[in-house]
């Protein structure tokens, strides 16, 4: 599982002003399905990696690519050893 915080930060740096909100609205149904509450503010303040279901992290990566208009860098999608 990769760290979606890095993907959100990348989208914020490389995308338009409300890139994070556009990603969130695109994946909103999956957030609800997985009972995850995420906002741009909580993502901003988060200091550690987020443990999220795989279908959600994959959807966030896809949405980030759509919003920014280019592929998410591979190093951000590299899987990390997970204790979750």
């Amino acid at each position: 599982m990769f760290d979606v915080k890095g993907v959100f930060d990348w989208a914020k740096d490389n995308g338009e002003v409300k890139a994070v909100d556009r990603i969130l609205i695109k994946v909103m149904l999956l957030l609800i399905k997985n009972k995850v509450t995420l906002t741009a503010a909580t993502i901003d303040k988060m200091e550690t990696r987020m443990a999220l279901p795989e279908e959600l992290t994959a959807a966030i990566a896809r949405a980030a690519e759509e919003v920014v208009g280019k592929p998410v860098p591979d190093f951000l999608l590299a899987r990390e050893a997970s204790n979750v």
Partner: protein
Amino acid sequence: MFDFAEFGYDFATDRLVVGGESMILHCHHYNCFLQRSIQDAEYIDSAPILVGAAAETAFAQLTNLLSQTPDISARKATVEALYRASGFGLIDLNTITPEGGEVRTRSTHYSTGWKEKFGRSQTPVAFFSTGFLAGALAAIYRLDPANVQASQTACRSTGADEDVFSLSRGPANFALFEPRRDVVLVAVGNDPEPATSVNREGITRAVAGMPLPGNAAGLITAFGVYLTRMYADYYNRISFAFEQQMTTLAGRQGVDVAAKLFIEAGHVCAFNTFGGIMTSAEWDALVLPMLATREDWVFGIVGCVNALGWGTWKVLDVTPNGATFRIYNDYESVGYRRMYGTADHGISYLATGGAAGLMNLVYVGDIRQKPDLTPELYNRLFKRGRGFEARMTACQATGDPYTEIRAELAEAVQGGHRLEGASVSA
């Protein structure tokens, strides 16, 4: 030719009502951004909302305007002229019959605007024109819109040579909404405002009197943007119907995210339209001679805003660190109450974003120096570093006697980004 001046701008409430519909000025940046924000929620079938909202407003207005015109050719000519004068593009309705038909055009506001703003689209984008034509077909032949179908089969935004719309009879393939209630407007208060040498009323009268004619393509090019005289309740319906669906699907979390994008649409509007106005030759000729201080620039642009049909804006206080705008009969609140009654949260999103946007232009972007209105400047004003953020402190849609927006200077947080999460609740 269709002349909006014949209907008379109401300077008591700062609205233009044509055939029973409030018409307001907005640019292609706002129009396309708002539509894209709604379409971002791909799990909501937004096309029927976008088309249905246009059909609803166009049908209501045209039924009113055509009530004394029995001749079909004359009815079609009036619709074509209104469409063009509104900056929606060009349409030729000679091909349609009571059974429908095909409308082809090489000029549509949304197709042109979308391509210029976002580049080529993968799918057709002219939902507004699709719905307008459905409403027009029904109004011209006195049909029930519930028995009209409309779709766009080709779109210039996708690379096609022309936009093609197909009209036919059958159960409506777009959303049909509950009838709207009568408009209830509030009296504009006599609020104390800071002293200024700016003659806002004079500016409002001058700007409202500008003819803003469509060009040969039926597009209004002014202040560096494509303008439209759009139905206020088109924006209101698509925004609030979308918000209701988000509430059903995602509760408060969904509404909060949608609200941020609606407010961002207000930033986009302010940056491009207000910025375009404040860097225009018309501004230099009409407004600039009245401006002595930077605060006067805020009063000056508010004088222009009051000519857009958005309701009556007042400036209760303004300093380099913040401003309070009080708005009577803001079009979002008026529309919400017509459609859904009293709101349980603030819904004046465009006003919120617009207030922050104009403060950013004046105090952060130093619009006095006429900077180019580039994406880089937009990012500087709304994404990184210091900038204004706004929140609703009152909203007429919730039962307050006016809408009030407080814009305050926010400092950048770590990393240079703007702090996210400004309250939008009234």
